[in-house]
Symmetry: C2
Subunit: 261 residues, 2 copies
């Protein structure tokens, strides 16, 4: 019986996902043996945290690892895949959007390990409840990848590349675009000397309502209740913020339509 | 020395704010003596919960209350103000956008009591941390209104009508528009048979990040990292959702600009 467990890991990338994921894996008892980063400062910084070696040379990626995690920009994936030489090592990427097939040219053993969360370097978070979407080119590899994911998360799901793309798209909308709304709200307040903290209980409650209710049920606001007077006044108030005004207008139009359905 | 404390309250309106606010006041020991609602079923339903009387006739609004709370659509405020006859009773509205001045014709004693939160009837929430923005036409009335607000909330702020309008505008953006993003994300997932629950840890974390960081610092996503390939792919995936596609496009354009600043 072949050894199906992953112990030694190499990580390619030093971005938000690479940092958070590799630290979570280390905390779960895995051995991160190598970090690759084009930027020596970032690579060294992460390697120190992980107690691992590091390299800035793609050709020197180790073949001693049980798993190589490729956590880089989507746009760089196929170039890196063509440059590395990892023999038959198991390799996964962490992208929401890119198909598993991009890894075909890297090795005969490959898969996907996509943690569905928003990460920044400045804030470490527990992986416990983060859905990890896994996929692999065969059952043996899937088993290894799932086992690893289960060491850090209680919510591991087998998701194929097409579904994963949809999930990533919806995640961008639900997370990145909500955060953009916070950003706009903060900017509007700041321009008028009002501290952003006044909105924090509201933001908290808005995100908590959807735990138990679906978003349509809890939609409120002037557009949803057809209050054209308030919408007009808000648009006037945004005259000095043309980008924000356009966003306000478009979303209000969509909310008005929604209520007519 | 005049009695400055409010004990007896009448509430005009049976919407989301009226229901949540009147129940919170009752729980804090206030006596809600009358509910007005045009719709008899809603008025009676709320009156039963509050152990109060109710009326569907604006002319019968009681003058026995220490405070009358007007919690109705912005667009209906001035009409109702012209119809009621409440002598010199203290009256407040709960609107984010409408100026305190709309109440000039209702009484010589008036103010604003604006709880900054998103309310739905199906979910009761504690007022404890909800910022309550108060305003009044004189110091005596302000004192009364503040005292009342402090019975339900730890965060009572004196805010004038101009500031309140800005706060309300930013609240619509931060809350109603974020919820719209959840709604879109849910709809996209549903059309592909994927349950919305997969996004819940992400939504939670997105809203929690801004407790300690400002929204600009924690902005992530394809547009913010200039990943035009992913944006293009997402727009293609939204071909069957023209409204959502337009939203995706506009917000991504704004995020791309933001990163260039």
């Amino acid at each position: 019986m072949p050894n199906t467990e992953i112990y030694k890991i190499a990580i390619i990338g030093t971005g938000n996902v690479a940092v958070n994921l590799s630290l979570a894996l280390k905390d779960a008892g895995l051995d991160i043996i190598q970090v690759f980063g084009r930027n020596k400062i970032f690579a060294k910084e992460l390697a120190i945290k992980l107690n691992s070696s590091f390299t800035t040379d793609l050709k020197k990626i180790t073949t001693d690892a049980d798993l190589i995690i490729l956590s880089i920009l989507d746009s760089a994936l196929s170039d890196v895949v063509n440059e590395i030489n990892i023999e038959n090592s198991l390799i996964v990427h962490t992208s929401g959007t890119t198909s598993i097939d991009v890894l075909k040219n890297a090795s005969i053993n490959y898969g996907v390990f996509y943690p569905l969360q928003t990460f920044i370097k400045q804030k470490r978070i527990s992986f416990d409840n983060i859905p990890v979407c896994v996929e692999a080119n065969n059952i043996e590899n899937l088993k290894k990848i799932k086992q690893l994911a289960e060491k850090i998360s209680k919510d591991v799901r087998e998701i194929n590349s097409d579904e994963r793309k949809i999930i990533h798209l919806s995640a961008v909308i639900a997370s990145n675009f909500s955060n953009y709304m916070y950003l706009v709200a903060e900017d509007v307040l700041k321009k008028h000397g009002i501290p952003f903290d006044i909105l924090k209980p509201l933001i908290k409650e808005t995100s908590e309502k959807i735990k138990e209710h679906n978003p349509k049920q809890v939609q409120t606001g002037p557009a949803y209740r057809n209050d054209l007077g308030v919408i007009k006044e808000h648009l006037d108030m945004l005259s000095n913020f043309p980008d924000y005004k356009e966003v306000y207008k478009l979303i209000s139009e969509n909310l008005l339509k929604l209520n007519m359905v």
